[in-house]
Subunit: 380 residues, 2 copies
């Protein structure tokens, strides 16, 4: 099986773009990633598209209407908040399979249209679906409180996650927000579901991100200069049978994925230099320090207190600003994370650069449930 | 790369099941396919699910809630009427990639909920999407009339497709209908969009189908007795740039896919013993005889007149009854076609058996556009 390399990756600055269509937003990131690779749509053999709001409306094919209809294989994927990562993983799979050498993965979401945003066009989430806007704050509040009960984690520690990620985003020109949020501001913002205040909830934005994946043969042809190697790609679902999906176990699905990812990559948590993880709520980030093995169980509160997970710390987490400040356009998030980690591995992250980064990890969770983890490695 | 084998495949009898949920319908076919393989959900390493009506609602994961949550990789795919075939193809890809040895693919649709049915729950098609119920009859009527202008194809010849497929379905206990429709009845039924009358349009039903795909290593372990080999799996999109997708070129996308499929399989049209093709309208079937290379351009009318494409003819087409009489539950159709062809290759098609069938082809088109073709071969 061929190894798989990322040779182009980019994202648009996250924001609100009600004047654009979903395919237009996706096309923009696609062209940026192609430019980054020095390739054209005519060089691509397949497109994998991740979008949730118009999951049944052939968004991948409509992106090709914007940038060139070349007759290639197009697959549209949806997997809740793991949608973009799933599209990336299927692109990876198609190269691993030896079916293609050069594949484009695009993740895109327009949150104002349907979904959580509720307005405009778009198909909206099924009533029978699992993404009711009421359930997510409850799930992650409850999961945080369980951590507090077991390990004495404090409201202040949860809030510090938001302070850190907002600080990181002041150095990321592609983040939705570039503002500092002092601890008091975070703790005193509107309470959504204890212990998460409004500033501890992910930001509802439009966005898109894209990546060009190639086989080893093609990567060598192109020159490996800025290539990033995909060491692991895994996807798990809920491993239990005794619960209702309205309260998924966000820990179990991540622990299973982390175990598989480290095994596939042949590395351990101690080898990881930066992590973009699914901070859909501040409580979630705390849980995932432990779920991903970045520290031992019960040590997550100390990780945030000691600055281990801040830029300059032992293992910086969400240096992009994370979902809490960069923003969380559902279908785009998985590939935006891959953009962030790749940018550090290439040494191109400017002010927020994690110095000497050689291996990075991305993690997303889709309720319902899906957890995707990718481990990426610097090549040159 | 490992060859890929189908070791279990089944479908429910198509019909109307408003009392069931989409996951329940999908779970039923999944369990039937597992039974057919002599395997359990615990033996599966991944699930690929195709569903259009609730494409953003984690149908794959909800199927696992019905039959066992084992933590496996779940991907939800949507590709208009090629949705089920796309899920099957991604399952095939994951085995080709050497990532998995044993994968379940499920296609399911509940047409009464959302989509063309319009009632009940479900998310419905996006207003910005491409599947407006008004456009499909127009597209396939126009494409048929173009064939009539170029080749002198008659209303009667188009109508004979429906007579043939309804006759075939009288021998298929899993088809929605088992009734003969004489030529006069077909020609005198309500005119939908000339030259397609109501009996020349596909049937709006609920349905599900599933397949268990395995690697060569796993197939040998299980014994190859009833295994079917996947010789080719291809997926194309619209190869042009100068048109609007509201009138897709149903011919070009199929011709491109057929060329790729024959190349991948290393066989030609003369080697194919039966075809399940996308007769969403009677006109479409006529076009695809030529698009798939079953005859020369301009000979399709003669093919239906001479009985070449009927059971007992040179190359039987839609022996299942096709979309015109078996029914067309969008997300299920691609895998239901694979069930039909596999059943003949296994020699288990009873009254409608295509004698001595060794190689068969399935074809679906999703407007928007996507064309998936699979070529399957008898093993033992």
């Amino acid at each position: 099986m061929s190894d798989v390399y990322i040779v182009g990756v980019d994202m648009i600055k996250f924001g609100r773009f009600p004047e654009k269509t979903v395919p237009q937003l996706g096309a923009k990131a696609a062209l940026m990633a192609l430019d980054d690779a020095g390739l054209k749509i005519q060089d691509m053999q397949a497109l994998y598209c991740g979008n949730l709001g118009q999951a049944n409306a052939m968004v991948g094919q409509r992106i090709l209407q914007e940038i060139g209809q070349t007759g290639i294989s197009v697959v549209n994927c949806a997997n809740a908040c793991a949608t973009g990562a799933t599209a990336f993983r299927e692109a990876w799979m198609s190269i691993k399979a030896g079916v293609f050498d050069c594949v484009l993965a695009v993740g895109v979401e327009q949150m104002g249209r349907g979904l959580l945003g509720g307005g405009g066009g778009g198909s909206g989430i099924s009533k029978e679906g699992l993404l009711g806007s009421g359930t997510m704050p409850a799930v992650f509040a409850e999961a945080g409180m369980e951590h507090a009960r077991n390990h004495g984690t404090t409201f202040e520690q949860f809030a510090k996650v938001s302070v850190k990620n907002h600080h990181h985003s002041t150095m990321n020109p592609k983040a939705m927000y570039q503002i500092e949020t002092p601890l008091e501001t975070v703790m005193n913002s509107e309470m959504i579901s204890y212990p998460n205040t409004k500033l501890m909830c992910s930001v509802n934005v439009d966005g898109s991100a894209a990546a060009v994946l190639v086989s080893e043969k093609k990567a060598k042809e192109l020159g490996m200069g800025r290539a990033v190697k995909v060491l692991a790609s895994v996807l798990t679902s809920d491993p239990y049978t005794d619960r209702d999906l309205t309260m998924p176990d966000v820990n179990a699905v991540t622990r299973l994925a982390a175990k598989q990812a480290y095994e596939m990559a042949g590395v351990g948590p101690e080898d990881i230099n930066l992590v973009e993880l699914h901070d859909c709520f501040a409580t979630a980030e705390i849980l995932h320090y432990e779920n991903l093995g970045l520290c031992k169980d019960g040590e997550a509160g100390r990780m945030i207190d000691d600055g281990d997970v801040a830029l300059g710390g032992r293992i910086p987490v969400n240096v992009s600003g994370g979902l809490l400040s960069k923003g969380h356009p559902l279908g785009a998030t998985g590939i935006a994370n891959i953009y962030e980690v790749s940018t550090h591995l290439r040494g191109e992250a400017d002010k927020r650069q994690v110095e000497g980064a050689k291996i990075g990890m991305t993690h997303v969770i889709g309720l319902g449930s899906a957890c995707a983890i990718h481990i990426l490695e610097k090549v040159a």
